[in-house]
Subunit: 277 residues, 2 copies
């Protein structure tokens, strides 16, 4: 297992470099816009659901910061020479930003989902602790495989990838068994939105291990696999946008629907003085 | 179609370079100022119209970010040598920022307009989905033409420009047929403001394809067409300021007029304690 904590990347074509570059920039804009939206949208919700939007806002703020760093690191790691982007040995790409980001944000994503359920206090605390711990463990176990030079399925990458999926399976187990009865207790509209959020979580989170596996089947990753490096970066980025900003919008829709059911209709939350009496 | 995703620009005169440079800086200031205005102005509106200002705020925030990047890229792409701005081959200008910006903001601009109409929920959802999708499609179809080296009317640029205008025509069709009856249902003052917003959208959005067509009629674009490159950048920038910040102010005026009609007069929204009883 390599402890270098950086990646020796291959030279890239102008299209490959710029596709990743512009995806990173797109993600910075999306995350910070989502942050502003989640902060401003809180006032449309019943007070008890505002905290789930607060957590959503933290997630995209942290992610926006990390994509800002990832963008900078990517930009520094390459120089355009003769129409090609040449990897700069003295400024390697720092992929650890992703794992630091995930370590902070992934537990918060499960916390968001639990908060929007509006469970009794004791229940939600234990659920958040268990799922949050499993989420952090999943990220920590994935990292050694990500930075290892032995990228085979039955080598270092495969081993840590497998270990990392144990807590992932546990999270899915809790979401699809323990939480099912809680979801069925909600009204039809809310139950449907909650099922969608759970499915979005399954599909977006399921996308990461698939991307993680790409190097296992590509000869010479990362140093001689320009296509695989590009695909992996683009995949992680799309997954992050969906799993953080997209998911946050869905959590907002759930919080809004539940607020309305409990009588917090935006139009009636602030009355003009003239309308009173 | 070139897949490099960047533009090889010509050397520019000091006037040309600095005109574009200062326009970009002007736009950064305008977009961020507009952002603060749209955030703060929300409290003057009836709650149901606040979300249209929230969306306006997101649009100018995203645009401000991208102009910040565009400004930086423009600055890096040129060096002053002997009174002339010489294009730096190793740091080409990244025009993709514009398209990433438009991909995010143009669908939001139609969403703003639909939100301020205050239609029943089902109607407005379908309208936003259809118009937002058409707007995104319009941007995506324009990009291959923008970065192509074949800039002729009957070449790559012309083809993608034509394809891109199909969804544009659809948007105009919806705005000027389907929405006409909705607009006529409003009070005289609001109906007039809404017609103005629709016209501003037509004129500003119509300005982009005209700018897009400039290279079709200029020999040697972009590498040997300093005047056309300058004109195109200035045109896109003016159009962005009008279509985002200017348009947002108009949406604010509509939201304010509708709020007042519904009894939300600023002077009466918060009463001083001494005025009670």
């Amino acid at each position: 297992m390599s402890l270098a904590m950086f990646l020796e990347l291959p030279d890239l074509s102008a299209f490959q470099f710029n596709l990743v570059y512009n995806m990173f920039s797109f993600t910075i804009a999306t995350m910070f816009a989502a942050f502003v939206f989640f902060v401003l949208a809180q006032k449309n919700l019943a007070p008890k659901y505002r905290v789930s939007m607060m957590v959503s806002a933290l997630v995209v703020l942290i992610a926006g910061y990390h994509y800002f760093r990832i963008f900078g690191s990517w930009d520094m790691a390459y120089a355009l020479e003769g129409g090609q982007y040449v990897f700069q040995e003295d400024k390697p790409f720092n992929d650890a930003y992703r794992y630091v980001d995930w370590l902070l944000t992934v537990p918060l994503l499960v916390v968001e989902l639990v908060l929007v359920l509006g469970l009794p206090k004791g229940e939600s605390g234990s659920l958040m602790a268990r799922l949050g711990f499993a989420a952090a463990l999943m990220i920590i176990l994935g990292y050694p495989g990500e930075v290892s030079a032995n990228t085979g399925l039955f080598e270092t990458r495969g081993l840590w990838g497998f270990l990392s999926s144990v807590p992932f399976v546990y999270i899915l187990y809790v979401l699809f068994t323990e939480l099912s009865s809680t979801i069925q207790r909600q009204s039809g509209r809310v139950a449907k939105l909650l099922s969608n959020a759970r499915l979005l979580l399954l599909f977006t989170w399921g996308f990461y291990p698939i991307a993680y596996m790409i190097p296992m089947f590509v000869e010479g990753y990362p140093g001689e696999a320009a296509g695989a490096v590009t695909t992996l970066q683009v995949s992680y980025t799309i997954a992050d946008v969906a799993a953080k900003a997209g998911y946050g919008v869905l959590i907002y829709a759930i919080a809004k629907a539940k607020s309305e059911e409990e009588g917090y209709v935006v139009d009636e939350m602030v009355k003009p003085a003239s309308a009173e009496a």
